[in-house]
Symmetry: C2
Subunit: 168 residues, 2 copies
């Protein structure tokens, strides 16, 4: 199930890449600098758009590497343009592509810790359900909401992406 | 895993109830009608706050009942006040409380359909990962974002809620 849940994140990151593309198109149509979008936020004390994307990518990356018991590769959080943010999203998808179902065989019994918890730890399942997944969707949806609030032409279908529907 | 994932939704709905409480307190402090919040939205062509809450609750309710192969109880979507929205959230938590792990024993092999799909169907796992869970988090986070955008005093800890941390 962790492999499938990481697959869900990978799919949603693919959708995020499409929203970023739509944001670039919107800037072109309205004739404003597309990189203005990088600094937008919904509240003055919330993360700006760029950091929502970075945090979304990191939530997925940390979930996969921690649950697989592998060391997480560092990234710089230095993206300043829409194109650099798209590259960040794609590099995260690339990292997630490297996992197999077998990598998560011990996820259910793994202890997960992070520096902020000062020695405390969570079980793999608790970490995923209480922390990684809600955080991933938090930043993903705030990125989406910032774009919608500013008029970018995306909708629910662009959020969900294609569904695996079967004919009757 | 479905039982645990529905448990995650139940926990997040409990957090949502706290945000609604904070919204009421904010209205009192700033001396405006708390039910103004019910009609707020982030974009003119997005759902207003009330419908974000109703859709969030329904995503969780449908996920549980459909994956358990039970008929989903209908609700009216007639909430017009913050208090009525809190009651809706709590009644949804109450419905989810009625499920046991055993109820989801056949979820992985279940076929899920809904009227909008015109006869087409999804497997239980695809429905949950591609549709129910992303929709749940979509509406949950849009409700949160609407409140933050309008100055309600909530933060990331109120979003995540308590974490099951263990001592070293």
């Amino acid at each position: 199930m962790y492999f499938e849940a990481i697959g869900q994140m990978k799919k949603m990151l693919g959708q995020l890449d499409k929203w970023l593309e739509a944001a670039g198109t919107y800037a072109q149509t309205k004739n404003f600098d597309p990189n203005v979008i990088v600094g937008l936020r919904l509240a003055p004390d919330q993360f700006a758009f760029a950091r929502q994307i970075q945090s979304c990518c990191d939530s997925a990356k940390f979930a996969a590497f921690r649950l697989a018991g592998k060391e997480t590769p560092k990234q710089e959080d230095n993206e300043k343009t829409l194109d650099e943010l798209r590259a960040r999203v794609r590099s995260t998808i690339g990292l997630l592509d490297g996992f197999t179902a077998q990598d998560f065989a011990e996820a259910a019994t793994r202890k997960v810790a992070q520096p902020r918890w000062e020695g405390k730890w969570m079980t793999g399942p608790d970490y995923f359900l209480e922390h990684a997944q809600p955080n991933f969707f938090f930043h993903l949806n705030h990125a989406y909401a910032i774009l919608r609030h500013n008029g970018v032409n995306i909708g629910k279908r662009d959020y969900l992406g294609p569904l695996s529907l079967h004919n009757p």
